[in-house]
Symmetry: C2
Subunit: 329 residues, 2 copies
DNA sequence: GCAAAAAATACAAACGTTTGTATTTAGTGA
DNA sequence: TCACTAAATACAAACGTTTGTATTTTTTGC
């Protein structure tokens, strides 16, 4: 069922059919309607391959994300979809599991698909590689401020806010649970160092823990934490899952949160407000970032050189998992 | 940078270049290597549109899922990817947010892309629509046993297991928190009715609650539950998030879980083992389902008519959120 | 009713690959 | 060296659209 079949059925030239289907003014309204009806009736499905071939544009945007599982990225993707439809673009997603090889594969796929643009979140591959992408494609990085085109909200502000919140509550010994060594995680570490230094608080290497997502890992952190003397009175965890897990193991060991130790997370996942105690955390405007990144991409595609858009700042969400330190030790 | 450019550079015919790049035996080894080197050097990127056009096959599989956010589906997608690469297929994902219109859009996109197959998880659109898909594409449903081709594990067994687990613990009044009216959720409701009936336990309409994901909704359920007299001693929630939320609000109101009331969930999300108390739940072999569905799809594509594959059963995971009823009321 | 302008449609080439067939080149045995 | 076969390569058409240009048809103004 091709355009030619419809042309034959409508006793008209294929070129007229295309134009009719596109709603071109060049074809008589009556013909337009007749062709449209026929196409509908005959179950015509446009062949994107053929169209892409001649138009040199697929109407597709490739989205490369490291972890679908993370609601963070899911929210991002939704903001993108929302904006993309306004520009008649469609988003195809490729999950890389945070692996560099998969990221390369994803880029290869998208280049072959002749996507009109690329959105890359938390890229693992060094920036230099992206700068020399061939053929060049409009590309917007999410959360990579060093890239020539990117959309990021202030990546360090949220972490600073949460650390200052802890300081304001009276905490002077603050621990940190860090995630895997990904580019996106560095600002949290930087914020940790920066705030502690600025407040004149020292920090011990012992106060930095690494969480790998397992129960064992959480338990190990709790044990190490309890061994410390003096013990930190607050811990900032790099994401909500690790924060919630940590709270769990600490309570198991008899500590009260936040009375004995305050715990703060990052990301504001759905459950963060539903656990006991509800988690103090940072929410990023991922949906908005998604929308802006598509807008940005579109204007790059139009040959403009837009500046990085200003975005709403990450928001500190204070709940019950943080409070003033109650116990002296 | 097309195949013709390479042909010119290698002073050879375009057809030879294609064959060389495909590793065809028909072209001399020396030529193959020369062409490959040239292609690499000149930064050749195959044009999928052109290839798809003539081969009538894109090497793509379209995956339609209702909610990326759900780790359930993320796991599924990963199993699919893992299997797809073995068949030189690539997966493109489209999230529908569980909306029927978006599902139609996704199908349209994939048909236009000329995908080699379609994987549809928890479809909203009625089966009849899928049976008449035009042009016909190999299609495998996930969790829709009434479809001609589907991969599902026993959809009711996990729920039955968990309800029988509650019964075995001594619970005789068991409540149910149901999710939105999606096809995928019905078996849980069915299991609830079936087990209670089979055990000779009546169930009250009052024991069935609806959770919409908000804190308010959870609070409302807790209030309604506490108003009941006698109160159910156990509640089976349709997913882990609602179970965890429910536990939270119940504890806030002074109830002990599982002593006063046992709560069981479904899905085994990462956090289910990390909250307090760790959640009794059901794990589905989503990764395996993903793998099998791709295998199934491939054999359909080869013109076979495979039977629905046997899958590992859903697994009951007993943790601390369920126990024998302790309080008489 | 006629020329000119405008509107509607037809023609034809192009996009980059693949693939069946034809042609050239190399290799074999006598 | 020749005829014959096998190997390597070239030719050409096709896939379904789009789009610039040419042609036909209709409308307009007089």
């Amino acid at each position: 069922m091709t355009i030619k079949d419809i042309a034959r059925a409508a006793s008209v030239d294929p070129s007229t059919v295309t134009r009719a289907l596109q709603g071109s003014e060049r074809v008589k309204q009556a013909t337009r309607e007749r062709v449209a009806a026929l196409a509908e009736e005959m179950g015509y499905v446009p062949n994107m391959a053929a169209r892409t071939l001649v138009k040199r544009s697929s109407g597709l945007i490739g989205l490369v994300i490291p972890d679908m599982t993370n609601p963070f990225f899911a929210e991002l993707a939704r903001g993108m979809e929302n904006e993309a439809v306004k520009h008649d673009l469609r988003i195809v997603i490729n999950d890389t599991l945070g692996e560099e090889a998969a990221e390369r594969e994803a880029l290869k796929l998208f280049l072959e698909l002749e996507v009109d643009g690329l959105l890359v979140a938390m890229a693992r591959i060094p920036q230099g590689f992206y700068d020399e992408l061939d053929p060049p494609v409009p590309l917007v990085h999410i959360n990579r401020p060093e890239a020539s085109h990117h959309v990021s909200c202030d990546r360090i502000k949220g972490s600073i806010d949460i650390l200052e919140h802890l300081y304001a509550l009276g905490h002077r010994r603050i621990g940190f649970v860090r995630g895997p060594a990904q580019p996106g995680n560095e600002p949290k570490m930087a914020a940790y160092r920066q705030v502690l230094e600025q407040k004149g608080l020292g920090y011990e290497p012992d106060w930095i823990f690494r969480f790998d997502g397992s129960t064992d890992s959480a338990a190990h952190i709790a044990d190490r934490l309890l061994d410390l003397s003096p013990m930190p009175t607050a811990v900032f965890a790099w994401n909500d899952v690790s924060a919630i897990a940590l709270i769990h193991v600490l309570r198991e060991r008899g500590l009260r949160v936040p009375d004995d130790v305050s715990i703060a997370g990052h990301d504001n996942i759905q459950l963060s407000g539903l656990v006991e105690p509800p988690l103090t955390t940072v929410a990023w405007p991922m949906y908005e970032i998604g929308q802006h990144s598509v807008r940005h991409l579109v204007s790059i595609g139009q040959g403009k050189s837009p500046r990085a858009p200003r975005l709403p700042a990450p928001q500190l969400i204070v709940r019950a998992s943080t409070g003033s330190p109650k116990t002296a030790r």
